[in-house]
Symmetry: C2
């Protein structure tokens, strides 16, 4: 098992980790127990704000002694699901790190390499017919054939009883039948009880997975409905924010453990990040205005796909409370996006840089140890001190790469011109673009999806062919995992 040390005891029952992760979505990973993580109180606060549908208030005090990030040891992770809504969340016990722990560092590196074993599952968004009282559930053909026990086709019509357990280990029973003209798989008897019991509506999703023991498991994913508005009636939004900040501040001051709930579906972004992931992003990604990047998003049916975007700004999300924080300090625009569809702020570790070191965004001058643009100088020196104190094994040799040369954002274009181009591709003068690209003739174009670039400028690949532009992709062999496509012309 990929994460054997995760405790999975819920309040009463044992949560099946495969089902939990299926409900959480393909992009949600939990750092391994015992590993080093970086905790961002600001992100934690955002989760509360999102849950309460209310932003942080001016009444909430600043905690000047609470840094914007805490490097912690992850002591414990338990998986949970809300008894009312089946909403998944994880409880993590963190302890601010105050001693060298080589194992913990290695464990956090494991987090980067682990891949989820592919379990057989399917996810379907419920239609009006699926949720109406008029009938049952129409099972997609392939899904039924792959995930359900085979039917006895000697029966007329073929049918069987299916049993599946949900996150709370409740057993649901359905009649599975193959009938109709044309033939199709249906869940009939028992289905309406499930829909009613879980209060599902059209737009919500159900997912069936088969665990290792060939048992059928059943989860739900609700559509992004309007604020659930858990006005809570227990604690004011202010007190919740204060509770988070004060708990973290107290733990930081005493190096004592504290507990957080991570709700992957409610939280805009993960706020407990494997240390190795953070480290890799901060010290190997050269970030600057105009930089192109890719980022993973979840598709409707629990798949993933990458979108391309451009960094349009680097600034504090909250310059008052969280000055010089790296949390979501990158403003971004997306190549394809209806307004507001995707987040317009991300953190360094959320993105995969489209590495083109001689093309885009080197640091303005050479340094032996470049300071990442996301980290202003004053905080950077603080961090160095902390790192040296807390993790002396990180010597001087880290973080020196990918910065041998310098260039401007795009040769022959000022930043203003470039931004205009970015926002209005239709205004781009094709000749200008061609000249610009031609000046790069012979340069390294690594990990840059050409069709993406062309779409960015409203061109077709053929246009580039006409201009006789050459791309050299041989100097740095692309790594299959990180490159969508390389086009040789």
């Amino acid at each position: 098992m990929w994460m054997t040390r995760v405790a999975v005891t819920g309040d009463r029952n044992t949560i099946n980790p495969e089902l939990w992760h299926a409900c959480a979505g393909p992009l949600v990973t939990l750092p391994p127990v015992g590993s080093l993580v970086v905790y961002f109180p600001q992100g934690h606060s955002e989760q509360v704000a999102a849950s309460m549908q209310k932003d942080i208030d001016a009444h909430v005090p600043n905690y000047p002694n609470l840094p914007s990030k805490l490097i912690c040891l992850l002591h414990n992770v338990t998986l949970h699901a809300d008894l009312e809504t089946d909403e998944v969340y994880a409880q993590m016990t963190l302890q601010p790190a105050n001693s060298y722990d080589k194992e913990a560092l290695q464990a956090s590196e494991l987090a980067l390499k682990q891949t989820r074993p592919q379990t057989e599952f399917f996810c379907k968004t419920l239609t009006a017919s699926d949720t109406s009282t008029h009938g049952g559930f129409s099972v997609p053909r392939r899904a039924a054939e792959k995930n359900f026990p085979p039917l006895d086709f000697s029966m007329q019509p073929p049918s069987q009883e299916l049993q599946a357990r949900d996150l709370h280990d409740n057993l649901w029973t359905f009649r599975h039948i193959y009938r109709g003209q044309p033939k199709r798989h249906l869940l009939t008897t028992g289905w309406s009880l499930f829909v009613g019991g879980k209060r599902l509506f059209a737009g919500d999703s159900v997912l069936f997975i088969r665990d290792k023991k060939q048992q059928l498991l059943l989860g739900i994913r609700r559509a992004n409905r309007q604020p659930t508005n858990i006005s809570s009636s227990v604690l004011s939004s202010d007190s919740m924010h204060i509770g988070i900040l004060a708990a973290a501040a107290h733990a930081a001051a005493n190096h004592s453990p504290f507990t957080v709930f991570y709700n992957p579906r409610a939280s805009p972004s993960e706020f407990v990040v494997p240390f190795a992931k953070y480290q890799k992003a901060v010290y190997s990604n050269q970030i600057s205005l105009g930089m192109r990047f890719r980022m993973m998003f979840e598709t409707e049916e629990l798949g993933t796909r990458r979108y391309m975007g451009t960094i349009t700004g680097i600034s504090d999300l909250d310059p008052v409370r969280w000055k010089n924080s790296q949390w979501c300090n990158l403003q971004v625009g997306w190549d394809e996006s209806a307004a507001g569809e995707r987040r317009n702020r991300v953190s360094i570790w959320d993105i995969e840089p489209v590495v083109a070191p001689f093309f885009i965004c080197p640091p303005p001058f050479f340094r032996k140890r470049p300071i990442p643009p996301g980290v202003p100088d004053d905080e950077s020196s603080e961090m160095e001190i902390f790192f040296k104190r807390a993790m002396p094994w990180l010597g001087e040799e880290i973080c020196i790469k990918d910065s041998q040369t310098q260039s401007t954002i795009m040769p022959g274009l000022s930043l203003v011109q470039w931004m205009n181009l970015q926002q209005n591709p239709s205004l781009a003068n094709q000749t200008l673009l061609a000249e610009t690209l031609q000046s790069l003739n012979g340069a390294v174009m690594q990990n840059l999806g050409t069709t993406d670039l062309c779409r960015q400028y409203g061109l077709h690949p053929q246009t580039l062919q006409h201009n006789n532009i050459q791309f050299n992709t041989n100097r740095f062999p692309p790594q299959a995992q990180e490159v969508d496509e390389i086009v040789k012309v």
Copy 2:
């Protein structure tokens, strides 16, 4: 209106204050806006613990600079009801008092005098028949006649359409019919929708009230079911406790406003107390071991009744976190009580002393300004300093009364003997009791319900007559409001 300054805007709708109070129960009063109150963070914390069904954890830090009580100005009160459960709660904005405000003090005195206007209403606990799908709701005859619009008895059978609004201003429609043999009032069509919509079960209660505009209002009170277990999935229990303490500490340090939610049905006891109520209790009630008192409780059908009890201990509820707090520092036993039926800890202001100054529990020696036994000396002096600083108009003349004489708990009885007597009335030697009481011949017995006393010792009033005991009730004329009964023999 008795509390015209209370804002009653909910998140979306306006909450009817009469309905809110009806659902909250007869004992719940909210201090007037603009008045001085005493806020107990410990009690607030208890409300969270009760809601989460989880006690405060050792991880939660102490806030040594946060006093066990804060004298605050009550800026704002808004009434709310949970959209899912209809649970009522109030949001209050408090600001630690740092200036003299005569109006605020007077306003807090108003809280003691205000009586709720008697609105026409009835409350019925739902039976199995009421909640089953087999039929409708059986309306108690008197309730229907008093609260519902009169039926047209020329119809056969007499019937009408009733409409009532709930706390969220949703309109519910019922068919009200008078039929059956024998005749009875029933709600039929529409009732099951209500039961289903509110998820009511046998044991829950519904209440109908008529407001000033003769509109029918409809509320629910759920039975004390097992923990609703709002495990919240947003914030750990620890963070909630920390949030409360940190918010109060921050507000106290800065004299800045903060917000609390008071959930009268979930909270074991009110933690925002009118200052005048607190003051009166602390400085006029002489508290000591063995003292007899009465306390109001709610009956099933939204009435009230008094129970009698005895103070069996005076001690800190939480000697570590809240040393010398007056919050629930009285341990009590009840005259009639199945084990655990009633709270075994109360605060001074929860109880009405059964005043018998020469009989029970005077201070051990005379002081010009007696220190209430509930307030240990060190904190008491702190309080005096605070009072003088914050409220200089409270001069030296306060709190001097009811302590002209001294006596022991009961003449001729040691505390141990008295406690034994208390716990095992059957062991009480009638002669001893008679002698004891006889020694009080001619003393003042004010505000002491004789029948209560007799029940306490397992005697009948006639027994006392036989022993020819005289009670003089003339010296201090009893106040009708505070005396259940005075027996002249």
